[in-house]
Symmetry: C2
Subunit: 335 residues, 2 copies
């Protein structure tokens, strides 16, 4: 049987990468995981396709090696990810080892943080700022999805790939890349997808469910939000508003809000797209921007932050006041 | 210098394919193109990213081999594809050879059909039913985009790949696969993308422009169309209506109608999504369906046709009459 090192080198070759330091990290993580039994794999709160796809792929992989393993998440798993755990038996055991996947900080374990944050032994992630404390920490900020790293680790561990594991990993990659659409996609992302496709993954079906499918509430909320669309700064800035009343009336879940904040920026000619969402004590602002506007700096003026192209902040002012301050700041930038 | 045969075999290896008959077709087409000079490359009417990406990639490739070549299309090239011809000089010459790309039938040349349909020498395409008559006809129905075939042919011809050609081909693939989302995506599709990425293509920028970006008119039309959304057949069928008044009022172009017909089917639980668009003499119907409903059979009942999951038909009846007939037919299927 091939060694972990050998398998790692082969997997890395498939992705067109050979880097000694990186190989070492994969080997170290794979070795740590292979030594474990009775493993609890933790996903982040408000779980998405990457954290869940990684967790279930790793869990299935551990089990295929004869280990006991299970997945835990503070929040309920949305129905669209239910396929990831389909057919998995319930396993009851006293967890002895703790692994986090796609969790950038212990607080993101949500209600599970207190119980587990001191116990994490292996942390696998791709977020730029990862504050988890763990003896084995493998954070690859070049990976478009944590699932790319999990694929390497499973390959290194000698886990036999199958349709179920491949489907979890494909869904994770599709989620975090907007189905190969975003700038985080690297050649490696496509190459791993090719490897996963060999196992009969229903890629188009997964993509439809994760990317295209909307709930009735989500579509109704979108319609109402579109009704509030307004332009300013010579049509270079567009603003969409989501009120508490809309959320209540459409019975929208937090998930249903996904995607709305991308609408204003997607309009041709718009350099800065703003979404204003009513919250208990004011307005939560999401900014999406082109290269002309630094969203992080803009939100920074109001105590918020984020990335250059996507950032956020909060206002406890009235709607009109909050909007005026934002529009003034954008005008200043775009003048 | 490597032979055409050798280059073809290498390109096919990169896509993980080695098939003698297929290799022969690539070689034959590449040889035919290499022999030509003063070439007119024809795209289909209402041009999309695939037909234009193929045309400009091939044109740039021919020129890089010292040939005169230009692209012609019956309809205007939408602004979002303008980057494909950026920096290309105008060449005036009397065309001696004629090539079609992504054109399934001579009538799809639109107003250019009459002039050129008898002159086509090379036809490169991927559509299931291709009726073009040409001495060299290379139709690969397995290709997700005609651009996959063009990539192979350019490789076989020994055209040096560059950022511009790679960008055209990437845009073409992204268009026809919904950015790697649809069921037509094969391992080869991803592998060719990886090859193209090596030349510095701004993949995310192209994807944004082609997939996400919407015009103000398009978004306004979408909002109005969403306002007409209605459910029937126990929420398993959803109908969206686009009236002539909406199109006029939003100043929407035919392109702006893109995407609207996918809305109803994308709603969770909907097996049959219907879009009714008002036309001069009645209603044009687009049907998108899950496996439970055969859209082609449904539309066939009303003299239309298409594919299992996407089909269309026309009604010259009143709105209410047309809708009733459709809903009755869907109810019958879903009962």
């Amino acid at each position: 049987m091939a060694s972990i090192k050998k398998r790692t080198v082969n997997a890395l070759k498939l992705c067109g990468e050979v880097d000694k330091a990186y190989t070492k990290q994969v080997v170290k993580t794979a070795k740590a995981l292979r030594k474990m039994n009775n493993v609890l794999i933790l996903s982040h709160r408000s779980p998405d396709g990457d954290t869940l796809g990684c967790a279930f792929a790793l869990c299935r992989g551990m089990r295929s090696l004869g280990k006991k393993a299970t997945v835990k998440c503070a929040d309920e798993i949305p129905e669209k990810y239910a396929f990831m755990r389909e057919g998995m038996e319930e396993q009851t055991f006293e967890p002895q080892h703790f692994v986090t996947v796609d969790v950038a900080g212990a607080h993101l374990l949500g209600s599970l943080a207190e119980e587990y944050e001191k116990k994490i032994e292996v942390c696998i992630d791709h977020h730029l700022k990862n504050t988890v404390e763990a003896p084995v920490k493998f954070v690859d900020t070049d990976a478009a999805a944590t699932a790319e790293v999990i694929w390497l680790i499973l390959s290194a561990m000698g886990v036999p790939m199958d349709k179920e594991i491949a489907s979890c990993l494909f869904a994770a990659i599709s989620t975090d890349t907007g189905c190969f659409k975003y700038s985080n996609v690297k050649p490696r992302t496509h190459l791993i997808a090719v490897e996963l496709m060999k196992y009969g993954v229903d890629c188009a079906g997964i993509n439809f469910k994760l990317i295209d499918e909307v709930s009735q509430s989500q579509l109704e909320l979108k319609k109402q939000a579109l009704g509030t669309l307004e332009y300013c700064c010579n049509n270079q800035c567009a603003i969409v508003t989501v009120t508490s009343e809309m959320i209540e009336q459409t019975n929208a879940s937090p998930e249903d809000l996904d995607g709305i904040s991308n609408i204003p920026r997607s309009i041709a000619g718009v350099e800065c797209g703003i979404t204003m969402r009513q919250i208990a004590d004011g307005w939560k602002i999401s900014v999406r921007s082109s290269e002309k506007v630094n969203a992080c700096e803009l939100c920074g003026k109001f105590g918020g932050g984020g990335h250059k192209a996507a950032a956020g902040c909060k206002f406890s002012d009235s709607y009109e006041d909050a909007k005026k301050q934002l529009v003034d700041a954008v005008s200043e930038i775009l003048k």
